[in-house]
Amino acid sequence: MKELIKKVVEAYGPAGNEAKIREVITEEVSPYVDEIKVDALGNLIAVKRGGEKKIMFAAHMDEIGVMVTHIDKHGFLRFYPVGGLSPLTLIGNRVIFENGTVGVISNEKLEAQKDLTLNKLFIDIGADTKEQALEKVNIGDVAAINREYVDLGKRLISKAMDDRIACVILIEALKKVTKPAYDIYAVFTTQEEVGLRGARVAAYGISPDLGIAIDVTRTGDTPESATMDVSLGKGPTVKIRDSSLLCTPSVRRYMEDVAKANGIEYQLEVLEAGGTDAGAIQLTKGGIPAGVMSVPCRYIHTASEMIDYNDVVNGVKLITAIMETEFTGALSHYITT
């Protein structure tokens, strides 16, 4: 699985520009599913039939990036973030455009460090003039963070673990599932980083009976970290809430039951800030029961996001088990009391 992880995390695909990663994933899942389609926002929907009810999994294939908004006469590029980026994590870092052009991000002079904002940064692609720059990039082009994957053995580091590691889990589960208890809609969503946009329209189009997003979550196991009772290596999490949703209690219990029944170690997750595709799915039409499984991840939205390989292995086990275990909680819109 490590080879697949490397291929998937290193692929290019910032929000709104997911064509390349979509190709990679399509190639991986096609042999294992009954149908593949792409919708109006570029979501990749892989369908594997097997039961009466529809379950939708969402793993977002977009990553954060930067969009060129201006090219000055000396060939320097100004940009705007695509997704949540902190200027602190960008300085001295490299970005890469779809055509392979690499640039370095640096900053204007500052009176004080607190004056550092994104609009004081620029990208240098090594051009001396506007014309030279225009040979390689244009306004509206988007670059992703440029950093390679590293295997530390137990731990893996890369850009875009958020949320490509979830895409890998979903791909692997589709390969491993033998007795699906549902019609499985494995959606590799777009534009999650700019507002859960892909998942919102995909969920409307599919109208699933149950939705489960797979994402990454913060940990509380680094020096002087903010309170968070999640650590690397203690298993994937069953989410209780984040800022985009309060997971449907019956779905959370179901996920915990499946984990326990299959001997899979897991953690409970309360995330104070941050949202996931499940937030969009839950509020679709008349409401959809929704939950999330997260992979604990340190240093989210930096060039070096770190996860634990075992957590991923267990994540695959849990998602596969969920695919094979029917949810018996309330799915219908009305329950008469």
Binding site: M228, R241, L246, G286, G287, I288, H333, I335, T336
Partner: protein, 359 residues
């Protein structure tokens, strides 16, 4: 349809539900109380996927597509959630909904673990504080809940993700003023109850959907999905607005005890507002008005843009000290709002509904 037995007094019902537990996302306990009571006065009560309690009282309208009037009152309250159990058994926590951290200090709380446990969010006594410490507000991330129990017992009864509510009973004040937690917005649920009882004495052709919504405090989530499902012709939200008090500009508050407050502006359909005002005038129900240039900050904002758009209205109950555990209102305002709502529903016919799309 279950009928029979005497109807519960509205004040008694309000007391029961504000003392009940129902933090956003976990409204089941208070939802059960509401379902049970509404079942006595409505034709049908159901619960949807997000936990919204939908009580329907059918009207006399004929035809395949009866007029549907949906009223939304949110039953969720703001609260806290356990984020970590520390090495000594103290609980770290975060908020669900907008809590002023200054109102948490020296409060008794109820931690809803495997069973309900009493706890205290305490603070250092004055004797041990430096002058600087005494002048700054304590941040939520520095507070803990003290259950007074040993670590092992805490770990066996409490888990990360458990809900916490403020321990506060309903307090009867002078006259008809009362204070409690969760008056925002369970007072509105009481308005709907009062309305259901009043409607039994009136004739109405529209079907009335009294929806106790969930998760309003975290973004009107319950209202979004329940409105989609009910697909009403008219949507009325009932919420609370700021009651007058010193130190707050008069234009930002409504007087207490002078009846419901009716909002108008972009979030409100002009004809729905006019009808509410006319009905109030015709029936000598005193009311106040509030011009709102943009969002009203209530379920009405979500209802208005559901599906292909819904004509909306808003009735607010003036309330002091919003989002504290001593929210204070006038019970007469609650009753008057319920009466106004019932008379409004009784006044709606298909001609009115057709006119709502004539701009």
């Amino acid at each position: 349809m279950k009928r029979g037995g005497t109807d519960l007094d509205t004040k008694e019902f309000l007391k029961q539900i504000v003392e009940g537990t129902g933090v956003s996302g976990y409204e089941t306990p208070v939802a059960a109380l509401i379902s049970k009571t509404f079942a006595e006065v409505a034709d049908e009560v159901r619960t949807d996927v997000l936990g919204n309690v939908i009580a329907c009282k059918k009207g006399e309208g004929h035809g395949k597509d009866p007029i549907r009037i949906m009223v939304a009152s949110h039953m969720d309250e703001i609260g806290l959630m356990v984020t970590k159990i520390d090495e000594r058994g103290f609980l770290k926590f975060t908020q669900i909904g907008g809590i002023d951290q200054r109102t948490l200090v020296s409060q008794e709380v109820r931690v809803h673990g495997k069973k309900d446990l009493l706890g205290i969010i305490g603070m250092k006594p004055p004797h041990l504080l430096s002058p600087d410490e005494r002048n700054s507000a304590i941040k939520m991330q520095d507070m803990v809940i003290d259950l007074g129990l040993p670590l092992e017992e805490v770990k066996s009864l409490v888990s990360v993700g458990d809900m916490v509510t403020i321990n506060r009973n309903f307090i009867q004040l002078a006259g008809d003023f009362a204070a409690a937690k969760a008056m925002d917005d369970r007072a509105a649920v009481a308005v709907m109850y009062e309305c259901l009882k009043e409607l039994a004495k009136l004739r109405h052709c529209a079907d009335f959907y009294a929806v106790s919504t969930t998760q309003e405090e975290v973004g009107s989530r319950g209202a979004m999905v329940s409105t989609y499902h009910v697909e009403p012709h008219i949507g009325i939200a009932i919420d609370v607005c700021h009651g007058e008090m010193p130190g707050v500009p008069e234009q930002d508050t409504a007087p207490m005890g002078k009846g419901p407050n009716l909002a108008f502006g972009a979030n409100i359909h002009p004809k729905v507002y006019e009808r509410l005002v006319d009905v109030a005038k015709e029936n000598n129900i005193s009311y106040t008005i509030d011009p709102v240039p943009a969002g009203t900050g209530t379920d009405a904002w979500a209802m208005q843009v559901t599906r292909a758009g819904i004509p909306t209205g808003l009735i607010s109950i003036p309330l002091r000290y919003m989002h504290t555990s001593v929210e204070t209102l006038s019970l007469a305002d609650v009753k008057a709002s319920g009466k106004l709502l019932a008379l409004f529903i009784a006044s709606i016919d298909s001609k009115f509904v057709e006119g709502l799309l004539c701009y």
